[in-house]
Amino acid sequence: MLPFREVFFNIDQHLLFYGMAALATAVFVYGMVLRWRFWSSGWPEARDGGFDVGLVLGRALLNTSFFRRDPLGGLTHMLIMWGFVLLFIGTVLSTLDHWFLPFLSGGVYLVYALVLDLAGIALMAGVALAYLRRFVLKRGRMQTVERDHVVLGLLFFLALTGFLVEGFRLDAAPPPWAEPSPVGMWIAAVSDRSVTEALNAHQAWWWIHAAASLFLVAYFPFSKFAHVFAAGVNLTLEGMRSTSFLNLEEREALKSDFSFRHLVMMDACTQCDRCTAVCPSHAAGEPLSPRGIVDETGHFARGKAGFGLLPHPAPEPSAAKARAAGDQIWNCTTCGHCQAACPSAISPMELIREVRTARIEAGEGVPENVQGMLESVYTFKNPWEGAKSKRLEWASGLDVPVLSEGADEKRCLYVGCTIAYDPRLHGIGRSTVAAFRVAGLGFAVLGKEETCCGEVVRGVGEDGLFTEMAAGSLDTFDRYGIGEIVTPCPHGLHTFTNHYGRLDQAMKGRKAVHVSQALEAAVASGALTLEGRGRRKVTYHDPCFLGRRGGVYDAPRNVLRSIPGVELVEMGRSRENSFCCGGGGGRMWTEGGGEEKMSEIRLREAVGTGAEIMVTACPFCFTNFDDAVKTAGFEGRIVVKDLTELVAEALPGSNAT
């Protein structure tokens, strides 16, 4: 006799079971339709990529993002997910076997039975680990609410009752072959019941297990389980590089508050708190929780869209998107660490920006300094209320070629507003000029015609003004036939690269590079050879907009390593884990009211490496760290320099030491 398992062993009321199954499936389908309707109420976004198999399968099936940052969390999720998935597949196979094509017998059955037993063990172990993490190890700041117990408890209960059913079946009707179900066999061995008792126990637990399983099916789309679908969709959209960029007129015409992807993100979130754990503003004790943002915007959007078991009535008139999530939205530095840390590629940062836009359009609750900055961009075309006549003060005496004065050059050195108007930062522009001249890199500047690239404006959510500024800059680039923009400002780089391309005018094949990339190329080609100025230990801070958001990690490091005598030491948090200086997202203009400053937290980390120089490659980072050296009392122990300044000191003929 070949080993097999009799489906509906000891169970007679097949119709009752199929009736319950049909009901559960109907509820499941209804829930999924509601989810889909909710997502579709958002506006469609721009997509310029295809299905990214590696991203979706790697993250969804292998949980690569979990393992990279949190191995225990990865193991927990992996055990629960694969335990659940295998048991689900097992049920599907059993149905196929029963109704269509009998194949679960003999060796195939033995493997099947063993795998399912192991899957059950994995599921129970995963849930146990989850409780261990939540209540004993207390990893992160994960919050546990009633519905989390429902989800975890249900999974554990399903595995447990499954084993009981199996055990009593094996007890009542011991098979003549060695059943490869260790847990079932063990239960059968210890159950010590008569055949009748075992049959009764089996029947009772079978129905309990069936009811619980079908409850899970029905509950699935209304619970955190829905993230299985939403996260999959969101990862797919991430691979397609879907962005919410749509000009405001079109957006308003659509009468929706969020994009399709925003709404998917809200449903994909399981409140795991990995985002908040890496949020620099949160770390500084400021009232900002990226997890809370996803929760609150989701609550708001679902309420308004009428998502729920039953369609909601129309939202009360006070339901304004501008008020969703409160004032914490202004604390975000748009460093992008939250979205990088999210296993499901959710971007709390994008949701924050979206709410900021609503605030700006409503004109309510915009912090005074942010308003002042925006008005400055509107009036002066730069965020620092700088006069046009002073735009080129940074280059005084350098005789730099200016495009409007007839310079014939396709490479534009765009220093950006902050370097142009802060005398402390003029050195960055001047050092760049010195290095380019030695390297023989031709360039010209826009001079008085250089205006705000729009990054800070977009960062705080003023999309209309951003489009206006971008159009102005693109016109200027067109007018002078500029082919390449080199900038020492990562914020400009990010905007030219990632946002100008989405506008109607677009970049037209024009490329933008950071100064560090131009210098790296010059060093690599031999055009630039740097000289040693003694042994120095330096640490490099990855600016968020150059590293995490621009993908440039190695260029500045390679330039640093090419300076003889420079020993590069890394901080604990570097590259994609870099900790924000606190200057992005309009935060150069606002105080967050935290316990300490992000810049000081980061500076202490730099000092901790024993480095005597902290090198960065962004004007905001430079300003914040240079201030922090003074406010945190590290004068004499560490100095902050921009990469270009270190390079200028190492130029042949430079007499700097």
Partner: protein, 263 residues
């Protein structure tokens, strides 16, 4: 309440280097940024707040060329209902008397309970248009107003005086008020907001439409003669302190003590 607010487009000279024309007739404008006069911005916001609280309409008016349209559109985006632009070559280089004359003609065309102006303008800073306008209209007025509370047929206002004093007045409507900065927090107007009012028609009123004769507004109507602009001679009381930051701080402290700046 029907409110008219007089606004002006001025250069923002806070951080800019102001360069005089060689003949002293004015300043070079090429590199300057222009926008609504700061005081006027508060006046517009105050008018809109009054409208939001008590109903009515807000109309903004300016005297100026088509360059002033942006300023009016910004006011419309803030929440003003109507805008009018007075433009006529015969106004020439208007002084505050002539501007007030033009605005008085605009007021006469409507039925305004309240006329607001900024207390000062950021360019010439005469602070005269409001009071002169009140004179032409024969209405009560208050300057440097820091709060406005309607009170039936009257309005109660607070004025800012020297030395931190405040004066409270009760004026009969219709009245003219000149608004001081800080009376409110002017709202942010997004570019989208401005774009939405792009198509709104802004009537242009010339002298004829306002019933003004050349004698009312031409050169002969001016009472202030502009002789020229010049930079003040460098004073001698400025002293540059030298030394380390600590030494400089010590010297500043000494100076403050010496001159009674610190107790």
């Amino acid at each position: 309440m029907q409110i008219l607010v007089c606004v002006k487009r001025v250069p923002d000279t806070a951080d800019a280097e102001v360069v005089l024309q060689p003949d002293g007739s004015g300043i070079k404008e090429e590199d300057l940024a222009f926008g609504i006069n700061e005081w006027d911005n508060y006046a517009v916001e105050e008018a809109i707040l009054l409208k939001e609280a008590h109903g009515g309409t807000v109309t903004v008016a300016t005297l100026g060329s088509s360059e002033s349209e942006d300023v009016l559109r910004r006011c419309l985006a803030m929440g003003a209902d109507e805008a009018v632009r007075v433009d006529d070559a015969s106004f020439g280089d208007a002084d505050p008397y002539v501007v007030a004359r033009g605005m008085a003609a605009v007021v006469a065309k409507g039925a305004y309970d309240l006329v607001l102006t900024g207390a000062l303008s950021g360019d010439h800073g005469f602070g005269m248009v409001g009071p002169v306008l009140a004179g032409y209209l024969g209405r009560p007025h208050a300057t440097l107003v820091t709060s406005v509370v309607p009170d039936g047929s009257h309005v109660r206002v607070t004025r800012e005086l020297e030395g931190g004093l405040e004066e409270t007045l009760r004026l009969e409507l219709p009245a003219v008020l000149t608004i001081q900065t800080g009376i409110n927090e002017p709202r942010y107007v997004s570019i989208m907001g401005i774009r939405k009012v792009r198509a709104k028609e802004i009537p242009i009123l010339d002298a004829a439409a306002l019933g003004l004769a050349p004698a009312d507004i031409g050169a002969q109507a001016k009472r202030i003669v502009h002789r020229g602009l010049s930079a003040p001679p460098a004073g001698r009381s400025a002293e540059m302190l030298k030394g380390t930051p600590a030494e400089i701080a010590r010297k500043i402290l000494d100076i403050l003590r010496e001159r009674g700046g610190m107790a």
